[in-house]
């Protein structure tokens, strides 16, 4: 995938995570403090930088709440606890994103070689001072954190940064089957690998992390799991024009604690089958996760006819992987 497309997807994933953090704290508009939390949860170089100073996502959420409470206290206002349980589905739809969030994402990640450390630096530099105050609330010197975000790009990182070299990498994506296309997405979940494995490998817990794409999950008499793709809104009303699709889900391979693959075969004729793989790798108290989906390449005339739609289909697949990753994180964070 091109660097530009990867940055666009990273920006989208961070914006989505920011709205999740906003909803979790009971706020209604995702701002720079929620983007800071999203960066921390993203597990990239910026998150590793902050983790090296002992910062956890839970601590950072508390710090955001305390900063707002302190500002309100200066007005003589006592803030109530606004945190709330997120609904079963990712319910951050409707959470508006502050214009500053888009602006910071667009500027910080634009340059070649930029990564989320540049985004963290932009957040610290913001004149509103909110992220600086959050870092202060975490016992950190904002200027020192800012200085640590300066880097020379991916080539320099590859040669230096022993702490990066110590971070275990997820094993390579599942071997690509002849005639099949593989799309992968990596992320970090702030939970031990045992908890992540228990979530993804337990059939009865499928809805907890894949629920945004599913209406229901049932088990057929022969043991095959049936996934009913989402055709209704969370309040039960049917989404118009969306056909009912049921997918047969069978475990293809299992490496306990490490990886699991399922074949997803729609019961509808002419629907495209998939192979979904989850690979896990312990990273301290967190887990590196790689989600991969493999779909068959079109052949013959269909390949020519379907070529213009291929980038769109690939983009949809990537966003579905991002959504699944977000589902795993939200359930365990």
């Amino acid at each position: 995938m091109s660097g530009l497309a990867d940055k666009a997807l990273t920006s989208g994933a961070l914006a989505l995570a920011a709205t999740e953090e906003c909803a979790r704290l009971g706020h209604t508009r995702a701002g720079l403090e929620h983007l800071f939390l999203a960066v921390l949860g993203h597990g990239g170089p910026a998150a590793r930088l902050l983790a090296s100073h002992g910062v956890t996502l839970a601590d950072a959420r508390d710090a955001v709440t305390r900063v707002h409470a302190a500002r309100l206290a200066s007005l003589g206002v006592t803030a109530p606890d606004l945190t709330r349980e997120l609904p079963d589905r990712i319910g951050a739809e409707g959470v508006e994103t502050d214009d500053r969030v888009g602006g910071v994402l667009g500027v910080a990640l634009a340059p070649s070689g930029a990564d989320d450390r540049d985004l963290l630096r932009a957040l610290v530099d913001d004149e509103g001072g909110l992220v600086r105050d959050v870092l202060g609330g975490l016992g950190l010197d904002a200027d020192a954190v800012r200085a640590a975000t300066v880097h020379e790009g991916p080539e320099a990182d590859a040669d230096a940064a022993p702490e990066d070299a110590d971070v275990p990498a997820v094993e390579a994506a599942p071997p690509s089957m002849p005639g099949w296309r593989t799309i992968s997405r990596d992320g970090v979940v702030p939970a031990p690998v045992g908890e992540v494995w228990a979530l993804v490998a337990t059939p009865s817990r499928r809805m907890e992390w894949d629920g945004v794409l599913l209406d229901a999950v049932e088990r057929r008499d022969d043991g095959v799991q049936l996934l009913h793709l989402s055709t209704t809104r969370p309040d039960g009303r049917r989404i118009p024009l969306v056909p009912s699709v049921t997918v047969e889900c069978r475990v293809l391979s299992l490496d306990p604690g490490g990886a699991i693959s399922w074949s997803l075969t729609p019961t509808t004729r002419r629907a495209v089958p998939e192979v979904l793989t989850v690979q896990l790798q312990a990273d301290g108290d967190a887990t590196r996760v790689r989600l991969s989906v493999q779909t068959p390449r079109l052949r013959g005339p269909l390949a020519w006819i379907g070529a213009p739609a291929r980038p769109l289909a690939a983009g949809v697949q990537r966003m579905r992987l991002v959504t699944r990753l977000a589902g795993i994180s939200r359930r365990l964070s």
Binding site: H27, R29, R71, G76, A79, L82, G91, E93, G94, G128
Partner: protein, 86 residues
């Protein structure tokens, strides 16, 4: 917050040594107000109030409150469909 408390809050904001601090405090107050309004709207809808009744209490039009909140509220709330006036 009573009338006296609100006056004190305004006084503190306008008398802050650094006006930036006062503005930042007001920004946090806006976050609190928006959050409380969302929760009150959700509570009203769960109690069976209509969008029109919510709008009446907030002093805005039905269209304004629906546009602002229909996607923000907990989507599991079964909001009654609009009733026709007799």
């Amino acid at each position: 917050m009573g009338e006296r408390d609100a006056s004190e809050a305004v006084a503190r904001a306008t008398q802050a040594a650094d006006p930036r601090e006062g503005l930042r405090a007001v920004a946090s107050l806006r976050v609190l107000t928006e959050s409380l309004e969302l929760r009150q709207v959700e509570a009203a809808l769960r109690a069976g109030l209509s969008w029109q009744q919510v709008a009446d209490c907030l002093g805005v039009t039905r269209q304004a409150v629906h546009r602002k909140y229909h996607r923000r509220i907990d989507q599991s709330i079964a909001v009654p469909r609009r009733e026709r006036r007799p």
